[in-house]
């Protein structure tokens, strides 16, 4: 879960990382008042989309009046589908130099990873490898002062800046652990005179650890339907095609989309019915698919922890309660598949065993045989 900029910055400030002064504002008047306190400032739209600056969501203001005007311009703006409801009014900094530092989860090493660069202020993926310092942290002993010294050395920092760097890094790690972060990023970490300041920063909390963080406001990304489906615990992504797809297992769901595409089908979505969902959630998932008014539905199940009989019951439940008004193609193999097949047959639904056949069948049903 990405956190809004203002929240991420506030949490990092809370653990002691120096951040620019800032105030949250929901009206131009509040922005003006904030600017009066802060001085020359930047007015920043609080939406979770990239490229806010280019889209006009970030503007400079040198006086309180300007801050009010800029806030008035930004509030209510539609940024890539999101309406701006809040702006973050933040102190302007006179930046002498820009560094980069982040802590993330390194799946290969199975350890936290610090990435740092003396070339900050740009997307780290665009910085040449030789300017990047990487260091894994042993999660059992944590981040110690020596990590700060060693990374500072490799960045070419010395003296008091190095000390400040180590201090900030230690506090980033504190935040990383405290908030179960998958990313804590300061970019740029600005040299302002003789001080280091986290000019811009991000804090993404891992979704799977949110149960440990009731204190954090939930931020839902995605379309309305995506949010609705995900709220039931299913992995769901809307795509721009017209054949709705449900499969179990992320790999299988992706594979189904791939096969469907290769046979000329246009998938309307990715839906992983997941690990061992029971009947009702799966029925609900099928209902969600029907809401998208697809030309046809393909259900592709290779039962493992998901039982084919449960899938069949879910399909029959939906058919019997609200009907399925578009062609439905089902493919069923794996755990309890015979029972599932029997349940479907009783409801007059044929179940394929071959994935390719099922994909071809749904393409034919959706677009007509002549295609």
């Amino acid at each position: 879960m990405k956190l809004y900029e203002y929240l991420a910055k506030s949490l990092l400030a809370e653990v002691g990382i120096p951040t620019p002064q800032g105030r949250l504002a929901t009206t131009p008047e509040e922005a003006e008042a904030a600017a009066r306190e802060i001085g020359p400032c930047v007015v920043k739209a609080q939406v979770l989309v990239g490229g806010r600056g280019k889209a006009g969501g970030i503007k400079l203001a040198n006086t309180p009046e300007e801050a009010r005007q800029r806030a008035a311009e930004i509030l209510g703006m539609n940024l890539k589908g999101y309406i701006v409801e809040k702006v973050w009014v933040e102190q302007q900094l006179k930046i002498d130099r820009e560094l980069y530092v982040s802590i993330t989860v390194d799946g290969q090493a199975r350890q936290p990873l610090v990435i740092a660069s003396a070339h900050g202020g740009v997307n780290i993926e665009e910085v040449p490898e030789e300017y990047i310092v990487k260091k894994n942290i042993d999660i059992t002993t944590g981040l110690l002062p020596f990590h700060g010294r060693e990374i500072a050395r490799r960045l070419g920092l010395s003296g008091d800046l190095a000390k400040q760097f180590g201090d900030i890094l230690a506090k980033m790690y504190t935040a990383f652990r405290k908030y179960d972060a998958e990313l804590v990023e300061i970019n740029p970490l600005a040299v302002v005179g003789d001080r280091l300041i986290a000019a811009d920063s991000r804090l993404n909390v891992e979704d799977d650890a949110l149960f440990r963080h009731p204190e954090l406001p939930r931020v839902e990304e995605g379309t309305e339907l995506e949010r609705k489906v995900r709220a039931t615990g299913l992995a769901f992504v809307q795509l721009d095609g017209d054949i709705a797809v449900m499969a179990n297992g992320a790999g299988m769901a992706m594979g189904t989309l791939d096969v469907l595409s290769l046979y000329g089908g246009r998938p309307a979505n990715f839906l992983d019915a997941g690990g061992g969902a029971s009947v009702e959630p799966m029925a609900q998932a099928i209902r969600f698919l029907l809401e998208t008014r697809p030309k046809a539905i393909l259900i592709n199940i290779f039962g493992g922890i998901t039982r084919c009989d449960d899938v069949a019951r879910a399909i029959v439940t939906v058919k019997e309660t609200q009907g399925i008004p578009v062609p439905l193609v089902v493919r069923l193999v794996g755990t309890n598949d015979e029972e599932g097949r029997r349940i479907l047959a009783e409801a007059g639904i044929h179940a394929y065993t071959d994935m390719g056949e099922a994909a071809r069948a749904v393409v034919a049903a959706a677009y007509g045989e002549g295609r």
Binding site: Q108, E125, I139, T140, D180, F211, G249, G251, M254, G304
Partner: protein, 289 residues
């Protein structure tokens, strides 16, 4: 021979009294797995499908000689369960739950590495050495013993492929589910090493997907160390960038982890990459005759 588990594997099921734990205990028993005990502190003394329930993994190890554990407890309790199993001295640990926090997983893997425990998962379908032992949630009837080692990031897709191989007459030595999470135990490289050194395995099938750089790293490893033929299928060819396709790792970020980069890397390492899942069997046939 097989890798990781075999007929000497004595399994304890953590969370045996739960819905999934109980169901898959029955399935594993039906497959012939030596499930020697299950763990639930509050239900110690009971039985589940004839398997004794004990209070702790230590008790399962002491009284029933368990040397491997499969975990079915809810994700938020998984770290405790996994560290219990490691502390109790099992040598193989299969973590079925999905949604285990990555930081918990890192702690689990750190402890496992220190104790020399092989971890499968989390968010895995498990591991099976057909005809010998199954520790996982995969269907029983799709595998058969044979010369193909399979290592997969995702479960159902690998069932699909194993099933086509079985029907085409190519059995499996061991099938390893790596798990779909970002932080996992046995990965492609470790699995490739195990299969390369396993005399029974004649060919290796990799089932990968978009996201991350695991397949690219595996390709480097294959070039340097693997002499057995490798066949791969990768899911996510049609996936748009920036969308997370279920698995924590399955997202194309920037120009990392794309379908094309993975196929290129693998083909450059001499791996035959199938376009459709069932083509894997054809590629295997060409290589094993």
């Amino acid at each position: 021979m097989a890798v990781i588990i075999d007929e000497n594997t004595r399994v304890v099921v953590q969370g045996i009294t739960g819905n999934q734990g109980s169901f898959h205990t029955a399935q594993m028993l039906a497959y012939g797995t030596k499930v020697v005990a299950g763990v639930n502190f509050d239900k110690a003394g009971q039985e589940v499908h004839g398997v004794p329930v004990v209070a702790t993994v230590h008790e399962a190890v002491e009284r029933y000689g368990a040397n491997a554990s499969i975990v079915f407890v809810p994700a938020r309790f998984a770290k405790d369960a996994a560290l219990e199993a490691i502390d109790a001295g099992v040598k193989v640990l299969v973590l079925i739950p999905e949604h285990i926090p990555a930081q918990d997983a890192m702690e689990i893997h750190a402890a496992a590495r220190k104790a020399g425990v092989r971890v499968i998962g989390p968010n895995t379908f498990g591991v099976i050495s057909p005809g010998k032992c199954k520790m996982g949630i995969m269907p029983n009837h799709i595998y058969t013993p044979g010369p193909v080692g399979i290592v997969a990031r995702s479960g159902t897709l690998s069932y699909e492929i194993a099933y086509t191989l079985t029907r085409a007459g190519f059995g499996q030595s061991t099938v390893i589910g790596m798990g779909g999470d970002r932080v996992i135990g046995v990965n492609f490289i470790e699995a490739l090493e195990l299969f390369q050194n396993d005399p029974e395995t004649k060919l290796i099938v990799m089932v990968g997907e978009i996201g991350g750089i695991q397949e690219e790293l595996a390709a480097e490893y294959i070039k340097a160390h693997v002499t057995k033929p490798v066949v791969a299928f990768l899911a996510g060819r049609s996936a748009p960038p920036g969308k997370r396709m279920g698995h924590a790792g399955a997202i194309i970020e920037g120009n990392r982890g794309t379908y094309q980069s993975k196929v290129q890397a693998l083909e450059a390492a001499g791996v035959a990459v199938a376009s459709l899942p069932w083509e894997v069997a054809d590629l295997v046939r060409q290589r094993l005759g």
